[in-house]
Symmetry: C2
Subunit: 301 residues, 2 copies
């Protein structure tokens, strides 16, 4: 998996400070998470072929997380998109988007599906052959979900050196990936374990924005490879964080520590701060492997 | 009046190619015309104190003319705005905006008014002591209005040299502006025409985007000081212009010529063109005083 931060700032977009959006590349499949105003411009800057996005996950209906969605949907239409697109987000998102398409007399030529969410417990909302996506109920001023992306470890890994010179067919490769032994054209049978090794372990990415400090989250994200957790504030604004149901950098670090995740990324910074080093300084004593999100920065998982 | 182009490109925003929005300063009062995605960032770049905007005019409900409106309304709230704001736009705009504010549980703390438009004839939709705003029915794929801004010539102009040494009170100045003669403290009466001259003539700005070539527009914009007319296409794409109900640069020039306006600005350029000189070359043989719109360029009226 490769995560690209398109925007990691809160509330209002500024020049070079974009509101929340992230692009997750899972073995070549692109998933968009949140879509603040101007996300389509950030996607252009990221140089990815963003018409390949087929699934968009919206955490909640505050503007800094979804005001760019209607523009992206419209741009897909203007670019001649034909592939279906599915939007996952809180109940109401379908009405907001379809009302605007209706009044503009600009229905998409591609199929547009909505999966509206209202469950208060974690549920699987997407699944294919390579990954599953599960909601992470968060504690914010409006109904909000984080998202847990888990890759599947289904295929055994073929040992390149072992199969060299065997002149295997695609069918042979499929059998090997599925853990079966194979029979060559000369009748010789080769056991699976000679030619393959165990699959890579599953990888997990947890996206958690926006939320108050919420210990109930910990069991859901136990040991994930990468956790993005919002840290709108520093501890000096702890009361404001509580009032607005956001987190501080220290609180984000505590969640990461309790959940024993492998790595933490902080983001969703309030516009009141200009120096972000303080976020690291506050989080690192509690959870060492922490980094700051940055617009257009990528992280490998 | 001073007009600042915030965006003058059509369809989809690109880096350094912003979709339609304009700011009109009339004697210190700010009026916003259309509000494509990212307009709030362009307003920041323009360095105007944009919290002073009290009236926003939306021509039609295509995304490149209003997808930035909800974000601007939200940003006004986050910046602590208290002054009322009025939105003028096609029927349906109130539902689009209020639905999003409701679902975000983010009602504005300031008063937000809507004047929804559905008339098919030109009507006055705003009037104060310095100007009036009138709709200009346009011919597009959805219900669309242009807007005609007309300043009022009500106050006679005081001749600075003539009043020097007379030690006039503010009340005297008011009487002179209203065309009255004045009585000095020593009982001397001075006739108005000795101290004043005729008011500046009214100034007119006509905004016309988006529209097919539409001769019915001509009588409404006769002799205006400045006409912004869309020219999405060049003549080589005349058929496409007709099909999508847009205009070519040549057609815009014909409207300017027929209406005998003083100056024409072209804009709403399609993304298919990279060299905009061709727009001038096409328009100028028909109407000489023509200029191109440019993002963040200002024009005095």
């Amino acid at each position: 998996m490769k995560l690209t931060i398109l925007g990691c700032h809160s509330a209002t977009p500024r020049d070079n400070k974009h509101t929340t959006s992230q692009l997750l590349d899972v073995q070549g499949k692109l998933f968009l998470i949140d879509c603040g105003e101007g996300t389509q411009l950030q996607l252009r800057k990221s140089k990815v072929k963003f018409s390949r996005i087929k699934h968009i996950f919206i955490s909640h209906l505050h503007g800094d997380h979804f005001y760019g969605l209607i523009g992206l949907i419209s741009t897909f239409r203007l670019l001649g998109r034909t592939a279906p697109l599915t939007i996952y987000g809180p109940k109401g998102i379908k009405e907001i988007i379809t009302l605007q398409l209706k009044l503009a007399k600009s229905w998409t030529d591609y199929e547009l599906f909505f999966k509206e969410l209202d469950a208060k417990v974690s549920e699987i909302i997407y699944e294919d052959e390579v990954l599953s996506v599960r909601t992470l109920p968060l504690d914010h001023r409006v109904y909000t979900n984080g998202f847990l992306f888990t890759t599947k470890s289904v295929h055994r890994k073929i040992i390149k050196e072992a199969v060299e010179g065997l002149n295997l067919s695609p069918f042979h490769f499929q059998q090997l990936q599925e853990g079966k032994s194979i029979k060559l054209t000369d009748g010789q049978v080769i056991e699976n374990k000679v030619l393959t090794q165990d699959p890579d372990p599953a990888k997990q990415y947890a996206f958690c924005s926006d939320t108050a400090f919420n210990k109930a989250l910990v069991p859901h994200i136990k040991g994930v490879d990468l956790l993005y957790h919002e840290s709108t504030f520093l501890e000096q604004h702890l009361e404001l964080a509580a009032k607005t149901k956001h987190s501080t950098a220290k609180q984000a670090a505590k969640i990461a520590q309790n959940a024993q995740v492998k790595k933490l990324i902080l983001g969703h910074f309030s516009n009141r701060y200009s120096d972000y080093k303080a976020f690291i300084e506050e989080a690192q004593p509690i959870f060492e492997n922490v980094q700051l999100a940055e617009d257009l920065k990528s992280f490998s998982i």
